[in-house]
Symmetry: C3
Subunit: 395 residues, 3 copies
């Protein structure tokens, strides 16, 4: 479809994203989400056709990464650069759980010439999303009181609850695979725990997926070993949303059950909720001995679930043995990146290119979230860009 | 006032900033300083009105931070980006006191495509400013000998003697508060030591303030506990400048004396000159034991001056109990960022927004220092920018 | 010569650089090399005349530095910025010798919006160049499979075998000194080992020089103490190339022999091939004890060759006692940066400015390598830039 026609489709959507932070997909209306997806698609088309969507001639995009990251860091940098902003990283090596005046002051100090703040803070249950909202309140305060000329927008680059830039990129990938968003209705997606020799992986990816996919009439089946549940409120939310949107939400106890007849499988390791809760407590108290003990215990517990791994036999249970495998990467691949992991080398290799493509949507999803934060009428703005027809590369 | 009219005022000033480094305010004429202030104001107005002052289409602004920094780092990055330059950081983790061929060579190696070098080097008495001049001499040498196509300008982002981007931002804040620079004549500003549980804070902020404010007819009163004096030459300079410019300069022994009838209070902790001298010596000799002993002793000495703190009672001594409180941030706030510190939570909260605004001028002061270094006729250049009317944001 | 005339000369060259990585000079035709040199010269002229060669309005240039670097880092940053790209650094602090799926995946993950990847990986014999080719294959795979919209170009910023951006900058310097590339025919260049108190310096600089200079009819004389040979295949290649191109290639055993009647001297320390081989093995096995022992032994061996140093007497052996001294910097200067080193303070000081100029070509060589990777007809593109006449600085 031509860019022009995609913009026409975009025009039909009624979104309320202008000036609003993007923190949780379930705080957004379905039209909001569709708008972000469509704008991302158009931005990608534009860049692929060498039409620059640069809308800032200068300005900063701040990044705050409270956890290591390569993929999301590069995605945010790419998105910011695409729109014309320079990345400036706030390196907070010192205090991990800072609140109060420190957050309020820092948020203002870095924002005099900033247009966005992208935050990744996924280490502590109950902290990451809270921190983002605290930064947001500080920016509101600074803008209201004349400290800041503009109120920078906040993009959640992964918190303890949701990972919206990941889940939305995943959604984009599904739309691409299944033709359009309507076709996702009635499709079964299995979001399952999988064994990994590591420990402490955040819950935000599976939570983000069940929190988003249940909005679009999909049959979502979550599966994990006993005790490996997600944040209870998010599981409840997924159930409620499925009901409201003509889909289903089930929780299974085996990977086999979840995979049965699935159109899509999303197997990924995470730490059980109760472990993450305990870990947060120990980290707050700087109880290093306790942390070591917890890690040992959690790894031992994990090791009893090594059969939660995706091999040919497991895949054969899915619809026609051909479900689409998804993963946010890097996957723990048995015999490749670890002895025993989430997925066998053979299965992964079959879907390798697909997972790369899945990841490739993220920069555009982020750019889109930034774009719609600044343009009340994104369709109009995109049409202007099309008309301007500025080359990204060339003389 | 309209930008056009501000440019008209700027035109009346006779400055000599073109091609010159900005290292100490007291090396600059009053018209130089007024020019920097006015250009900063205009650049801020332009950006606030979405008029881009971008004058470079490419180029690097090098930063050398020999001490940790968040505020100044972001300010320099913002200023550079505003003018169209990309920040490139020289990370000198190894040798802190490098001189000679190393400095000369490095200065040239990083400058082939650089337009400015911003330097923060405030750790060692007798070193920071000297280092900046050494870099400057190396650039002169490289330019003269055809190594460099242009001579990059140097901006002092804080040295052992002065912190000109801070003091000039403070001055901008005062101009904004008191209407214009003429109104500062006869106003009393109390620059005082204040208690903090930390140790080794540089002297450059109070030195910068007394070195600048005495140029404009203000009554500057410096106060500190016995033994906490600043660099003697800077205190003498302040006295001399006050005399020449129709103001006064006094040194008091109590915060109470200094605050009496003050229009502005600037209470901030610093390390005594003799401690900083000893510390520099110990650091040069890498005497870690000696440093520990000095820190212990200095903290103990500090702790005997806990009454040097700004509370309601202290503020009530100022003119109508309503003096403007200033601080370069972050302040050590009692009961908030520390048990006992420079200022009570209550007082700070009252002036919090003001201190944020004070900080907000810094990026523009830096951008202005950069701007006037490259344009012989800044008023003309600003008029051209106004005419060009390029949007910072938009299509 | 005017830029226009230089472009006319460029037009006569038949190069095949479009879309190809730049990994080893000896994989490129002579016209390829001349093209890179001429484009570099033109880009420098343009910038010196305030004509911007910016050809990207946005985009990323990725840097992967697996070894410390200041000069090359700044050169790559300068080149990228000149063309309109923002640097994004991939910080791989963890695994030094990563291969397989990790490399393949990472290469794709960082490249969704990247136009180039600059790689420095010179620590391990047999690894650096191999790694670059592995990244290249991953990018080919990603592009072919629709993961990447474009295939980013790779620039070798120093590997275990070659340091093409250094050797080409050195060549540019020689062209400038001797008038043109034809004049280099028959000139004698002495590439010699020199004593340094350090250990483990890569072989890629001397290898790069003998691998490049033997292409242009020069008489290349390599000299080192017994056992300090380079990679045998590269020495053989140099001999073969000299023969094919009407020059000579000799290996001497003393600095004196090599310097005799030399037009150019290039004395520089490096670690013997067999030491580097052993070191790579030990590093792979993480044998820290073995590494310490090797370092001790290698330093002791080095210390027996302290007479391999460039002093007045040594220089007097060269043609008319006036050979051009070259060094990639920083040099180990006796009595300045170390007690005893590669060159005396007196000799270095005489050539100091020359070595700075030599270094100054590197950013433009890199920019040129990037430029020719993206324009099938570089002469045409440069003419368009000339016609566009966009100011780098100014309103």
């Amino acid at each position: 479809m031509k860019i022009k026609d995609k913009i026409k489709e975009l025009k039909k959507l009624k979104s309320d994203l202008y000036g609003n932070d993007f923190l949780l997909t379930w705080e957004k209306s379905k039209d909001d989400l569709k708008t972000v997806l469509k704008v991302a698609e158009i931005l990608k088309d534009m860049r692929d056709q060498n039409i620059s969507p640069k809308v800032f001639d200068s300005g900063l995009a701040i990044s705050i990464f409270r956890d290591n990251s390569t993929r999301t860091r590069f995605s945010y940098a790419s998105a910011s650069n695409l729109l014309g902003l320079e990345i400036q990283d706030l390196d907070e090596t010192k205090s991990q759980i800072a609140h109060g005046e420190t957050v309020r002051e820092t948020a203002n100090m870095i924002s005099f010439m900033s247009d966005y703040i992208g935050i990744r803070d996924d280490m502590y249950l109950g902290e990451g999303n809270k921190y983002m909202r605290e930064v947001g309140a500080a920016l509101d305060d600074g803008f209201k009181n004349g400290v800041l000329p503009k109120r920078p927008g906040i993009v959640n680059l992964q918190c303890d609850i949701d990972h919206p830039t990941q889940s939305m990129a995943d959604m984009q990938h599904l739309i691409d695979k299944f033709g359009n968003i309507e076709n996702l209705k009635g499709k079964k997606i299995a979001v399952t725990w999988a064994y990994s020799p590591s420990y402490g992986k955040p819950l935000s990816v599976p939570q983000g997926i069940i929190g988003l996919m249940t909005r679009f009439g999909m049959n979502v089946e979550l599966a994990y070993p006993k005790g490996y549940n997600l944040i209870p409120e998010v599981e409840e939310l997924a159930a409620k949303q499925a009901k409201e949107n003509g889909g289903t939400f089930k929780i299974a106890n085996t990977m086999e059950d979840a995979f049965k007849n699935a159109d899509i499988i999303y197997p990924k390791s995470w730490a059980p909720y109760h472990v993450m809760e305990k870990r947060t407590e120990l980290l707050k108290n700087k109880d290093m001995e306790g942390l070591k003990a917890l890690e040992k215990q959690a790894l031992a517990e994990n090791a009893t679930h090594k059969h939660w791994t995706v091999d040919d036999k497991m895949v054969s249970l899915t619809k026609n043995g051909k479900a689409l495998y998804m993963h946010p990467l890097p996957a723990d691949i048995s015999g490749l990146s670890c002895a025993e992991g989430e997925v066998t080398d053979k299965v992964f290799d079959k879907y390798r290119i697909e997972t790369y493509k899945e990841a490739g949507y993220k920069p555009y999803i982020i750019a889109s979230m930034m774009f719609v934060n600044k343009f009340k009428k994104p369709a109009k703005a995109l049409n202007q860009l099309l008309k301007r027809n500025q080359k990204r590369f060339g003389i």
